[in-house]
């Protein structure tokens, strides 16, 4: 029983990371209606930013979060404003955006490889190597702090979307782009801001991850694929869905590892994902 409880606790912590990266992806989809295939690479860039801050200035990954967030926001917004927006013109042809974001993913990954080489890099935090015990369960402190941060970031994002002016504009744009434009919202800037926000959240996730995991150029692939799974399970565009399915995915992985053994857990995860996707889409088309 305690193995399951422990697996559950671990799953919750991992799930938190999945949820957060899922939220960032779903935010971009909700507004721009595109699947950003380089989300994992944005997370990777966030991790490296955090690593550089640690390496150069000895900054704790957790303290680096605001800097990483701001940097990634600007980076994402610029990326959207200069490149991605150009291939959004053709409304019903989304293959261009698909290839563009895939291309950007390869670009970032190999830039990182070029600059940082393929070594595994770590950054330590004041919480590193500390463990919290709750009865039979033990949880590493950085993971727990990351999980709490996840809740705070998500709550902040909700507040931002709900109450601020820009949040309202983002929501308006996501509901009806033309309607938003007619009401005087500059959707181009909103797109840039949303993409920036998505990149910032991916960066925050990366910074959290940095506190207990290592970074390498292709780390984004792992989390990128997970983020696709999370958002399709939770429903593209739904923040709550991404949160819930992120946690579910984390639990599925860790508990699955206990049940079928750690080597085949990924296979199980991918197959479950495909089943969920197919069934969901079936239900959706049936209704119409």
């Amino acid at each position: 029983m305690s193995t399951f409880l422990q697996a559950g606790a671990n799953g919750l912590m991992v799930g938190g990371i999945y949820a957060l990266i899922g939220v960032s992806l779903t935010l971009i989809f909700g507004v721009m209606k595109i699947i950003n295939f380089c989300q994992g690479e944005l997370l990777m860039l966030g991790m490296y930013t955090s690593f550089v801050l640690y390496d150069q200035f000895g900054l704790d990954p957790f303290l680096a979060i605001p800097i990483v967030a701001i940097f990634m926001f600007i980076f994402g917004a610029l990326l959207q404003f200069t490149l991605i927006t150009r291939s959004l013109k053709d409304e019903d042809d989304d293959t261009n955006v698909l290839f563009l974001t895939v291309g950007l993913g390869i670009l970032f990954q190999n830039l990182a490889l070029l600059y940082f080489k393929s070594d595994y890099r770590t950054a330590s935090s004041i919480f590193s190597d500390k463990i919290v015990s709750l009865g039979v369960i033990t949880v590493s402190l950085p993971k727990l702090v990351s999980f709490i941060l996840l809740i705070i970031v998500t709550a902040l994002m909700f507040l931002l979307l709900k109450y601020t002016n820009i949040g309202k504009q983002i929501r308006a744009t996501s509901q009806n782009k033309i309607g938003a434009e007619v009401s005087g919202i500059k959707t181009k800037s909103i797109y840039a801001a949303t993409y920036g926000l998505g990149a910032a959240i991916a960066g925050i996730t990366g910074a959290c991850l940095m506190s207990f995991y290592y970074v390498f150029p292709s780390v984004g692939e792992i989390y990128g694929t997970r983020s696709f799974i999370v958002v399709t399970m939770g429903g593209l565009g739904s923040v709550v869905g991404a949160l819930v399915s992120g946690i579910v995915l984390g639990l599925m992985e860790t508990i699955g590892a206990v049940v079928v053994g750690s080597s085949f857990k990924d296979t199980i995860v991918f197959l479950t994902f495909i089943c969920i996707l197919v069934v969901k889409q079936r239900l959706k088309t049936k209704r119409g």
């Binding site: 595109i34 699947i35 295939f37 490149l83 150009r86 291939s87 053709d90 989304d94 293959t95 261009n96 698909l98 290839f99 563009l100 895939v102 291309g103 950007l104 390869i106 670009l107 990954q109 190999n110 830039l111 490889l113 070029l114 080489k117 393929s118 150029p217 692939e221 694929t225 696709f228 799974i229 399709t232 080597s263 085949f264 990924d266 296979t267 991918f270 197959l271 994902f273 495909i274 996707l277 197919v278 889409q281 079936r282 088309t285």
Partner: protein, 333 residues
């Protein structure tokens, strides 16, 4: 209307002849290996284009199906002494069948959703093979070495592989070209353009997506048989997503949806990438993929229909055709 043999056909044959002569004059294994990889990539990209270009279902998991082909033929060779030549046929039907069966419930997923499923399938297969004892786990499989043997598709020099790859790419091109102009091709292209229209003129989109998947994945698995015989080492890494992207890029850059596009894309990209990889991999790892990415991004931003898309609307095409017509005209006199 009978086809006349004009300057176009003659030029093409001359070019083919010259290419076929290359191994006679260039003995450097390095250059030959670049050419083999070019033909191989072009073949895989052509196979991909049946599903991705013609039918418009962007698969990002084709490397997994290529890998399946490579694994099946290798395991058959190692355990049953099965010749790769027969494996080609086995693999085409087995991998084609498996992929069509697995992907068939996913065909009502449109656009990027389908791509996501293919990524997930690719990862699932890779994960399975990484943990499967019989298939050598993550270390992969080393094909048995030995004397030259045509039956076992095993050669010590590069030249035989060069001709194999050349024949493979020519056959693949002719097949894709044939499908493109056939009744089947019209159905596939109609499905790509608009599924509602396809329905309205009597085309069952689901059925044709299954057919396209069968052919496309089966053919890419055949490329896998060649890959295993040529490299003589396979591991789950050949099923990685970035390997799939290597099949997609030539088609996108050359021009998606035309038979010649993947060929031109591969001829431009693969030598460049192999060259960069060989010269820069020690000092600047990833430089070849970096160049890939930059080319892809530039093409997508400025010429989304690829090189062929540019060519179709260019003055160059008109000039070239005029020039060729003139050649024909002169010959008649």
């Amino acid at each position: 209307m009978k086809k006349r043999i004009g300057s176009r056909q003659i030029l093409l044959l001359i070019m083919l002849f010259l290419v076929a002569l290359i191994p006679m004059f260039i003995k450097t294994p390095y250059i030959l290996s670049i050419l083999v990889m070019t033909f191989y990539t072009a073949s895989a990209s052509l196979a991909w284009s049946i599903l991705g270009g013609m039918t418009g279902q962007i698969s990002l998991g084709h490397a997994a199906f290529m890998g399946l082909g490579a694994y099946i033929s290798t395991l058959l060779l190692m355990n049953a002494n099965f010749t790769p030549w027969v494996s080609i046929i086995v693999v085409f039907f087995v991998v084609g069948g498996i992929s069509a069966l697995l992907l068939s419930p996913c065909f009502h997923l449109r656009g990027p959703y389908f791509s996501l499923v293919t990524i997930a399938f690719g990862e699932a297969f890779r994960n399975l093979l990484t943990n499967w004892n019989y298939a050598g786990k993550g270390q992969g499989l080393l094909l048995p070495f030995g004397d030259n043997s045509l039956i076992l598709m095993r050669f010590k020099s590069k030249a035989p592989y060069f001709y194999l790859a050349l024949v493979m790419v020519i056959l693949m091109y002719l097949l894709v070209k044939y499908i493109d102009q056939s009744k089947l091709g019209y159905a596939l292209k109609t499905v790509r353009e608009d599924e509602d229209t396809a329905n309205a003129i009597g085309i069952n989109p689901w059925k044709y997506k299954v057919i396209a998947t069968f052919i496309s994945c089966g053919l890419v698995a055949v490329c896998g048989v060649f890959y295993a015989s040529y490299i003589r080492f396979i591991s789950p890494d050949i099923m990685m997503q970035d390997q799939s992207v290597k099949f997609v890029l030539p088609a996108v850059i050359g021009g998606i949806g035309s038979a010649i596009g993947p060929l031109i894309g591969a001829i431009i990209l693969t030598p460049l990438s192999e060259y960069l990889n060989a010269t820069l991999s020690s000092i600047a790892p990833g430089a070849n993929l970096l160049v890939y990415a930059v080319i892809l991004i530039v093409v997508i931003l400025f010429q989304p229909r690829g090189i062929m898309g540019w060519y179709e609307n260019s003055k160059f095409k008109i000039k070239l055709n005029n020039w060729l017509d003139k050649l024909d005209g002169r010959k008649k006199e």
